[in-house]
Amino acid sequence: MESIDIIKSNYIRELLMDGVREDSRGLNDFRSIKVAPGVIEHAEGSAQVDLGSTRVLAGVKLIMGEPMSDTPDQGTMSMAAELLPLASADYETGPPSPDSIELARVVDRGIRAGNCIDLADLLVAEGKAWSVYADLYILNYDGNLFDAGELAVMSALMNTKVPKYEDDKVIREERIKDIKLNNIVTSATFAKIGDKILLDMNRNEGNAADARLTVATDGSVVRAMQKGLNGGITVKEIDDMVDTAMAKHVELKSIMEKATKRSL
């Protein structure tokens, strides 16, 4: 961390003692959220999400392939995240960093555990099934990539159309139907700073955080969780965070449904 970040972290901690955040948000408030689906026409599905100044872009490509040998009756899904060097002075070029791998895996886990994509519906014939590739591109970094990423990939899936497949050929120009989805999952990521817990940290708050927890939910059950950083959290705190995540799910889901004009 640069020395200026340490000074900013101290300031964030000082403010939080009075329950105040740098941008005067409430502790359980998200920053403003904008979802723009379909921004990449070449992709079968896409969405750009702005969460405050954090900007991410998810693209979904459908590739005709083979089912995995242990699940011969369904298609597959895979996820990758790229922290682009233009998104932040802190990001460097090179092979995927542990941060980007964690990000992709956490976002993937929520969507997979929530059975969001109907993988069985991706099977088109024996030994032939769609593989869903979701790629998450970080364009501008200002904290909380987990929730921005979950929103972007989920919205991109809600925007995804399946191309025509005929006579062993994929006809990309013709998209015949929406991809079949079973569930909508959203996540809420919290930072613990001192003894205060706050939702949706920006970059400075992320630098000041002692502990971090991501809760992915479909509104009825928790689908995935990931704790990060070296600070500890109590059982009571987890309880509160799960409550907040469930409550926020309704709000996030409705933002995505409005933007993508698709609801479940």
């Binding site: 640069e2 020395s3 200026i4 000074i7 300031y11 740098e22 941008d23 002075a89």
Partner: protein, 204 residues
Amino acid sequence: MREIVVPGEAVADRPVRMHNTCICNDKTYATIVGLFDKEHNEIIPLEGGWLPHIEDVVVGIVKSSRNSVYEVDLSYFKRSILIASKFERHPLKVGDIIEASIKDIEDRKTIILYRERALHGGTMIEVKASKVPRIIGKNSTMVNQISELTGASITVGRNGIIWMRGGDVGLATEAILKIEDEAHVAGLTERIRVMLKNRTKNGE
């Protein structure tokens, strides 16, 4: 009348010596995005980092210290050296924020500081260095009015780092970021005054 020029745009069809231009084939061209003031033959940059000059006031953070020689971080790129005077009473610690002036620049690389003053507590924000003159204002009018109306003490470094403490730092930050966005617009001092007055009134 001031107009916006971009790199490669001709500003005179004869060679004219001015900052932020280059002369090629006996014509003068802008080398930066800026406001071209025809009357004064001057291009005021609208974008860009900081190129240090002697006597610039800067804000930085002490990065290391050894025998009263301090390395000071002036942003993520520029580093500088402060040689404390013999009579120094309160030695600086790593992590201290200081305000200082540039005494010299050696080999276009090493910035030597003097006239340092420690700044205690508070927070810092970074702005584009090209907008700093607007944030300070003519004869410091802009920064003085922000300080007055928000109650925050503010020190502005030419390197784009601004230190603030006390009063309504949030509102002061908002005002400074607004100036950064609208630095090229006329009548800014008055507009910022109105904004701050309205906001402080509502707050009461």
